[in-house]
């Protein structure tokens, strides 16, 4: 479907990821270049955590924690996108394999007032 690294300009999934990221982290979409660091974008850890949660919910994936870098998992936008694409690929493979596929229609644990 798409190469593992998620080519930034051509993979339609990247646009979807960046749109979510831009909205949740309140960053101008045009600033979200592969080499841009999360830090220089001024995205604090709270906003990033919220963005990751939103990506997991909307895309119905689980983004694994990089334990050795917990709290500072993603240095750049490119790293984050790559990580999300990998999670999407994994979810896709699981669904294709059947059996263990995660059900699609599950409520995310929303807190009242938590999203718009």
């Amino acid at each position: 479907m798409c190469n593992q690294n998620g080519s930034f300009d051509t993979d339609p999934r990247v646009a979807q990821i960046l749109a979510i990221l831009a909205k949740e982290a309140a960053v101008d979409r045009t600033m979200l270049q592969p080499g841009a660091t999360i830090e220089e974008l001024g995205v604090d850890s709270l906003d990033l955590t919220m963005a990751v949660f939103q990506l997991e919910t909307v895309l119905d994936i689980t983004i694994p924690t990089i334990s050795e870098r917990a709290g500072t998992e993603f240095g750049t936008v490119g790293e984050l996108v790559q990580h999300v694409i990998a999670a999407m690929d994994k979810a896709e493979r699981a669904r294709a394999a059947g059996g263990k596929a995660e059900p699609h229609k599950e409520p995310a644990a929303e807190i009242p007032g938590a999203t718009e």
Binding site: T62, E102, E106, P107, A108, A109, E110, I111, P112
Partner: protein, 403 residues
């Protein structure tokens, strides 16, 4: 050893079942209005008791930005709304921020707990919201207050169940008196009317099915309330120097533990806390003009509290009114002591004693003048506010009319 430092109450804010500000709380309690109603904010099919004193018509979006809201459990929302009212007349940037602190009663984010675990266990949710932990943490209200007003001194929360806010206010008072800070935002908030917690209260068999009638022979138990009351305490000269309105003076704080039973009240433990407060203030029992009781409306609490009052005040109790605000605003748990201290301060200020409503018949086991059903004009000079918590933890505050 107090170094002569006195402590003034210079700001008060409240949000309760009687309304969203202090004025509506006072209007309600001074007219004997009940905030206890059928529960409207949560489903009640699985509850035995379906009455509570809920904060009605509260729209969080009207008070907080969309991006901030996910960080705030209802408990923190109520605390912030009350804190904004209390701080309205205070300019923090005119003081040293590290000399101003926050001490609130600890209150976990019950709404977040309840909705998260319902989603996880009941609806098989795959993930919980990332703000679940910071919304639930019992220091969240205190942290949000410190952040909103830029208060950089001591900030923490006290956990003693239904005495939490009274312990918080007492500690803030002592810390200012001891010179550890010059100003403190203190009090408590509570928003525990959620299905899981109300179901847990059902199991304790102490809830009244409808009305809270403290000291009345036909009393049927307590009614859970929610809300927040926040007080600004300030070193006396500091308050005077900036021309602040002084609502009342805090003069004494006493604490004790029953070291007895987990949930049953204990007269000698309660009496020791009252005596400790009097000693702290250097006052004699006969100087106290009014007591705002813990007065939950359970058979055992009210009888035990009157026993304890008798031990401390002796014959003076025959002439001293003792009323329970819980008959009107319910038992606001972690916030209860703060709501009641706010009412006690206004009682001193206005010279009006708030009544105990729902009172129908004198109980030979608790014979006090509970200011039955109607407020009374009575200029008082010194008042006491009692809080006695599960776990046998007692906290008592003494207030004097500002002079």
């Amino acid at each position: 050893m107090t170094g002569g430092r006195r402590v003034a109450i210079t700001g008060i804010g409240a949000i309760t079942a009687l309304g969203h500000d202090l004025a509506s709380l006072w209007a309600g309690v001074s007219h004997g209005v009940s905030g206890i109603r059928p529960i409207a904010n949560i489903p009640t099919e699985r509850l035995i008791v379906t009455h509570a004193a809920e904060v009605a018509g509260f729209d969080p979006a009207a008070h907080f930005e969309t991006r901030r809201l996910p960080m705030l459990d209802r408990t923190s929302q109520l605390a912030l709304v009350a804190a904004r009212e209390a701080m309205a007349a205070i300019t923090v940037d005119r003081m040293e921020p590290s000399r101003a602190g926050v001490v609130l009663g600890a209150a976990i984010g019950q709404e977040t707990f309840d909705s998260s675990y319902k989603a996880l266990y009941g609806e098989n949710a795959k993930r919980l919201h990332p703000m679940t932990v910071p919304r639930i943490m019992p220091n969240a209200p205190a942290s949000h207050v410190s952040m909103e007003f830029g208060l950089r001194g001591p900030c923490f929360s006290t956990a003693s169940a239904c005495a939490s806010a009274t312990h918080a206010i007492g500690l803030a008072f002592h810390m200012i008196r001891a010179g550890m800070m010059d100003m403190a935002v203190t009090g408590g908030s509570d928003a525990s009317i959620v299905v899981g917690f109300m179901k847990a209260w059902d199991a304790l068999r102490v809830l009244s099915p409808d009305v809270c009638r403290p000291f009345s022979r036909d009393r049927t138990g307590l009614v859970i309330g929610e809300g927040a009351a926040i007080l600004v305490l300030e070193e006396w000269r500091h308050a005077r120097a900036r021309g602040a309105t002084i609502h009342a003076e805090l003069t004494g704080f006493g604490m004790s533990a029953d070291a007895g039973e987990l949930t049953a009240p204990n007269a000698s433990g309660a009496a020791r806390a009252m005596r400790a407060a009097l000693d702290d203030a250097g006052m004699a029992p006969k100087e106290v003009d009014y007591v705002n009781a813990h007065g939950t409306g359970t058979r055992l609490n009210d009888k035990t509290e009157v026993d304890a009052l008798g031990q401390v005040f002796g014959g003076h109790l025959d002439r001293m009114p003792v009323s329970s605000t819980k008959s009107m605003v319910g038992h606001c748990l972690n916030a209860g002591g703060a709501v009641e201290l706010a009412v006690t301060a206004l009682a001193l200020h206005h010279g009006i004693l708030p009544p105990t409503i729902g009172f129908r018949e004198r109980d030979p086991e608790c014979l006090v003048d509970c200011v039955p059903n109607e407020a009374r004009n009575e200029p008082i000079r010194v008042a006491m506010s009692n809080s006695f918590a599960f776990g046998g933890l007692n906290a008592v505050l003494l207030l004097r009319r500002a002079a």
